[in-house]
Symmetry: C2
Subunit: 473 residues, 2 copies
């Protein structure tokens, strides 16, 4: 049979571009229809579309992005220390300053769970003795607020970091640059989800007084620091995507420390081992700090359209791009599609919140979903959907991780390096796996699921992206 004969023998296949309903009559006529999920580039804005067309395929931008990704992938994030926050971020020791997740926000605009976490932190620091006192303090402007990202730090969910909290210190082996995150409180009622109460405060105090010091002693006593990227590499082969699933990485990191912690029973090492034995989210904050460190290396490169930050404060999401510096491009935070704990539903959900999407910016989480098919179950999906999501993310990224592998994709690397141009050109919104907080202060986590970054902040970033030198000629 010739190739032409073969073609003629094949059943008709139609390609549908536009509303899904267009396909129905064609399908009814017996033909197979492939519905293309096409959207006009640049959200259909003609002027922006022309601008985008000029940037897509710009060799200078391509080269800048490659350079940025070289630096991102070259980072080796070593966990070198645990220290009280005020020792590594001196501003925290000098003022009544709290760091929070996402782009800048003031007390009056904060969402419920973030307000609750602020109250908890004020109680923890002894600035107030009751939640009412803490709220008055904040309302009077007697507490300053700044994004964690302003201090090379990241915090999950509300992301409140205060002076006395123990922070992990993660250092790039080559450059010596450092990133920070607080320590994970575990599941259930946690400050980061906006839960408040004696149980939450007792755990936070224990973390400062016992967990932090014993971990500090343990990590300092290791013969060499743990390379967090090697833990991530192992965990991706073990069902974690290192954002919403961290059980393998938590267990692997835990056993690296176990003998060292056991030797510091005086400081709280045995209690720390008990805590680690049941905290399946323990590694999340390490994954975030490692991701932050890598993206810092790719930030601030002229003409690079690489997304280097995406973070949510529960009201707005904020985006930063390598070539546009420290400007935040914001949009309203979306609600998360997820699986809710019994008794809760989307009507109780706070919009998307937390710095943890830095993992997606680094090619983990939703971008590495193929590693963790268990997570798509949150939204009724299958392992095939997980693989499809990772492949879809590859259409908006610059490259694939060369040191990380996804077994279900024949050991290909997770896609990494969100290209502002590709997102706007394709309309494919980056996928995030995340937890869901109750919108009211004081309650905490009510579910987990999957969401997407809104396009509006990408549009604003494109508008602000500096003109090509060529255009100026």
């Amino acid at each position: 049979m010739t190739a032409t004969e073969q073609m003629l023998n094949e059943p008709m296949v139609a390609v549908n571009v536009g509303l899904a309903g267009f396909a129905d009559p064609v399908r009814a006529a017996g033909a197979e229809v492939v519905s293309l999920d096409w959207r006009p580039p640049a959200e259909g804005d003609a002027e922006l579309g022309w601008r985008l067309a000029g940037l897509v395929g710009d060799a200078e931008i391509d080269a800048a992005n490659q350079r940025a990704l070289e630096r991102v992938q070259g980072t080796q994030p070593l966990w070198v220390d645990v220290r009280p926050a005020h020792e590594v971020i001196s501003e925290l020791g000098q003022n009544r300053l709290l760091l929070h997740a996402g782009p800048p926000i003031e007390w009056g605009s904060m969402c419920g769970p973030m307000k609750a976490a602020v109250v908890g932190a004020a109680l923890l620091e002894g600035w107030a003795h009751t939640p009412d006192e803490a709220e008055s303090l904040a309302a009077r402007g007697d507490i300053d607020f700044a994004p964690c990202h302003d201090f090379d730090a990241v915090g999950p969910m509300a992301g409140i970091i205060s002076a006395s909290q123990p922070l992990m210190v993660v250092e790039d082996a080559a450059s010596g640059s450092r990133s920070y995150s607080n320590l994970n409180e575990g599941r259930g009622r946690c400050l980061r989800y906006g839960a408040l109460g004696d149980d939450v405060m007792t755990r936070l105090r224990w973390m400062g007084e016992r967990l932090g010091p014993s971990l500090q002693a343990a990590v300092r006593s290791l013969p060499e620091p743990v390379n967090l990227k090697s833990v991530i590499a192992q965990a991706l082969q073990m069902g974690d995507e290192c954002h919403s699933r961290n059980v393998a990485a938590s267990a692997l990191l835990g056993r690296r420390l176990s003998a060292a912690l056991a030797q510091r029973a005086d400081l709280g090492g045995i209690e720390a081992l008990e805590f680690l034995a049941t905290n399946d989210y323990w590694f999340l904050n390490f994954s975030m700090a490692a991701s932050k460190l890598a993206m810092m290396a790719g930030h601030g490169i002229a003409r690079s359209t690489l997304v280097t930050t995406y973070a949510r404060n529960g009201v707005e999401v904020g985006l930063r791009v390598s070539g546009t510096g420290d400007t935040w491009f914001t949009a309203p935070a979306p609600v998360v599609d997820g699986l809710y704990f019994p008794g809760y539903g989307p009507e109780n959900a706070n919009p998307d919140i937390g710095d943890s999407a830095i993992t997606e910016v680094f090619g983990l989480g939703g971008f590495a979903l193929a590693a963790a098919p268990a997570i798509v179950g949150f939204v009724g999906g299958s392992p095939r959907d997980a693989i499809r999501t990772t492949e879809e993310m590859a259409s908006i990224t610059v490259t694939r991780h060369r040191e990380l592998q996804l077994p279900s994709l024949d050991f290909a690397g997770p896609p990494v390096g969100i290209d502002l141009r590709a997102v706007l050109d394709s309309g494919v919104r980056p996928t995030i796996t995340t937890g869901i907080a109750h919108r009211e202060p004081g309650i905490g986590q009510i579910g987990a699921g999957i969401t997407r970054m809104p396009l509006a902040c990408f549009v604003d970033a494109l508008k602000a992206f500096p003109d090509s030198p060529k255009d100026k000629l």
Copy 2:
């Protein structure tokens, strides 16, 4: 288009049964060819073929197998204790007795690595002071040998269990029946692979004097015993198939014990934590003991063709079937197709050895290969090959695990319960993932890979299977 028109439009597809070469001319003519890997049932033995035909579809056998699998799957393997072998297997305390892997074998017939392990065990027990003395003792008949399986025990590779070795005790929650295994020595130079030397002996002594006692104290202090099946269930979602890959299960089990071990520094608990932190094979022996306990529950059921034991002594493999009692059906041990350490090749390899294939008999290892695509890399395969192997094994098993899941197969259970009839009817040989020992005594592991059970022992089991009561009428 009607269904008939669609059929006519489809390109020709031929099915080839027999030698692969038959397909070439058909394929050259432009048709798609599916080569069916068909083999005559019962190895082409006509008389046996008729006998097999009588047993296939025998409702009484089907019912017996279902009953056996109910008991197998109903087992809840609780790790309840660690004790010196002579305390739980009293014969070990009364005689110079050593247990070994696989079907029965005497000193003169043993392979190199098993002889080396016997020498090591004789030194460990103080029966001899030099390897030469130990060999003479064995050659004179002054050491008795019996299969581990005779005492409800299992040992990986050479599988030598001696009086002073600490054994794990695994107990079925409902029936109270118990199985045993020794503790895993880790990777590298180990007695189970037939390595000998001061390093090997020092570790074995430490295991008896420090690891065993601290583990005993730790496991007894847990608020409730660890259900090993729940660890297996988690590990199958984390890249382990619980035979040749056990890193997730080892880390998960390790963290359950870490605080308890930390509290017994006096007994060696901190050394134990150091040992566990780097032993990625730690869970293998637990997986084996849990598998053994389950298969014991399915053994000895009249008219059941369920395979309940498959074990190798490095010279012969041995099979036992539920309905034929404790008779071993043996065949020569095959060489393993695998990845060799630098400097070694198949010519250095000892034939297949160890009781660890009990994990395959229980639906883990090669049967759960879809969980652990990293392993097929040993033999140049892909993740797709791993899935295909698990699906192939489903063609020779009675059912699928209902408490265990494989993410890459849409969370279907691993196939479990090898049916003697199905193996002989299809010619599909059960797949085993395994380590490879050097054939010379004293050297140790030289690789890892995949092998298959030989059909000859299945043929012998079929011949010995009792006639159906119907046939006797």
